[in-house]
Symmetry: C2
Subunit: 323 residues, 2 copies
């Protein structure tokens, strides 16, 4: 039996999580995929950097073509983040006959049609479960087992950084700046938190969710987007006095055949299922015309949760690979 | 393009929900399946019974062989419930080359190996998403996109009747008998509620969950099972005084390589994600060694939610049918 060979573009959070899972769950993954799966190439800037995970230095290269043009790689995992060069790398991989898996919401949201078209033209699969909700398997559900439904509404808490900040503000009465600093200290927020706190990351994810659930592609920059940086202690207190919690919500709703969408802080009744989603957790609440209300809850970030979704995609593709 | 033809065994709750969805979402289902899907045969005791849904009387028959042996039926949906004759019908359908979809947890739990083996021997697919958690797509997630994980624990609220009764007891301080009567009046509990309130239905579902998540088949009658009929107002009050809620939990946990399992009422801290699952709703809380904690929440019963899962299975099978 031949082994499925994976090439990792990038060995940061997502790349190292993926590598770790493919190693620690090697046997059960081989059983699920019907064949062994191994990492045969890793793109990294610094071959000799000290890493927490044990990678054979011989498979590390700083030349993307060692993976993109390799004859032996079957699946390329793009784990660089950012729109470019990630998109170009993915397209080149597809043109070289490689299946592509990514967690990169910015690249998928910006180049959705182009990436899907290139995959289709080259007869390869393109999967991006990890791009929304990290380890939460929402995209697969919406694209497969829930397809008996026509969806009417999606509400998502899909950014752990902002949910952590809002939780701190709500539960500990902290002002925004102090809560942000706490998030940065815990590694939940970056030094420049703009993409998270201004809702840009959430808009990328809403673009992807809407494309799959409603079959409509809306550019992230066309989604009315408001972040959380102007939320005050007074806003939080007013919501609480009203029995509500403030959450940053990716929202899309179909009314009279027209799709309405926004990213903005919303006041949710305390007994709304999304109101109980705290700290860095994510959840997606979705309504279908048959199934009614569904919610998916879990870890939206982190090397292993995000790696779980990447590996899930790798397994699904591996099942279909025949030599 | 040929149409996929579905035969429904039974036109009660599940059968009529399935029929309704295939009709109301006809176009989006055809798009998802890559071909039209229609109901070509219905098994019913009484051809002329007045029904809420509009079925062409010409496709209704009281002879199961009209579906099981039909040359035109591709997929048989078993929606009769109970172990027999449902199991025999499913096996005969498979032997006649038909794919089978069911929502029948009792039959799947009792005859798991036999049903899977018969499907495999006859080169047909056998799917049963609706058998656990109704419309919640837990089985597909556990069998596909989450396979990068080794699972360590499952906790499920998978019976709407008992969750409704416990919610009434908790929120309104009702005694068990009064809450049961309320559930019966609302149609959430049957006249003979034994299978629900004694945990038998939950044990069937735990058998199926464990088979898929842990690859271990445990007969439902071998699962230590305790229902809710002996829970008193005092138990509920004691739990509340302790900041806890009582829920009937299907529980499986892997410790030191050994699988422990039970169905029993458990006291959960009020901030446990499952503690917020009220009334007739279901939820499954699952832990994987990569993804961490995940929860799936939704409607565990009812014609349309259960039909959603049945139709999801029909679509997945239809995608693979070529003529």
């Amino acid at each position: 039996m031949k082994t499925v060979k994976v090439g990792l573009l990038g060995i940061g959070n997502v790349g190292s999580g993926t590598f770790q899972i493919l190693s620690m769950n090697r046997n059960s993954i081989a059983e699920a995929a019907g064949k062994p799966v191994c990492v045969a190439g890793v793109l990294a800037r610094n071959k000799n950097k000290k890493r927490d995970i044990d990678i054979d230095p011989d498979i590390i290269s700083d030349d993307p073509d060692c993976i993109l043009k390799s004859d032996e790689i079957d699946i390329v995992v793009e784990a660089l983040g950012g729109i470019e060069p990630a998109t170009t790398f993915m397209i080149n991989a597809m043109k070289n006959g490689k299946h592509v898996v990514t967690a990169n919401k910015a690249a998928v949201a910006a180049n959705y049609d182009k990436l899907l078209k290139t995959a289709s033209e080259n007869g390869v699969q393109f999967k991006f479960e990890a791009s929304v909700g990290g380890g939460i398997p929402i995209l697969n559900a919406v694209s497969t087992v829930l397809r008996g439904n026509e969806f009417t509404e999606i509400m998502g808490i899909v950014n752990g950084t902002t949910n952590y900040i809002l939780t701190k503000m709500t539960e500990e009465g902290l002002p925004y700046e102090t809560a942000l600093k706490s998030a940065q200290e815990k590694g939940f927020a970056e030094a420049d938190p703009t993409a998270d706190v201004e809702g840009i990351d959430v808009a990328n994810k809403l673009t992807i969710l809407m494309a799959l659930a409603f079959g409509v592609y809306v550019k992230p920059e066309e989604i009315p987007t408001l972040g959380i940086s102007r939320i005050t202690e007074k806003d939080i207190a007013e919501a609480r006095a009203n029995g509500e919690k403030i959450k940053l919500i990716a929202h899309a709703k179909k009314e009279n055949g027209k799709l309405q969408y926004s990213v903005k802080p919303m006041r949710l009744a305390e007994n709304h299922p999304l109101a109980g989603v705290s700290n860095e957790f994510n959840a997606i609440f979705i309504t279908g015309n048959a199934v009614g209300e569904l919610m998916f809850y879990g870890r939206g970030a982190g090397p292993l949760p995000t790696g779980s979704a990447v590996v899930g995609d790798i397994i699904e593709i591996s099942k279909t690979i025949t030599y």
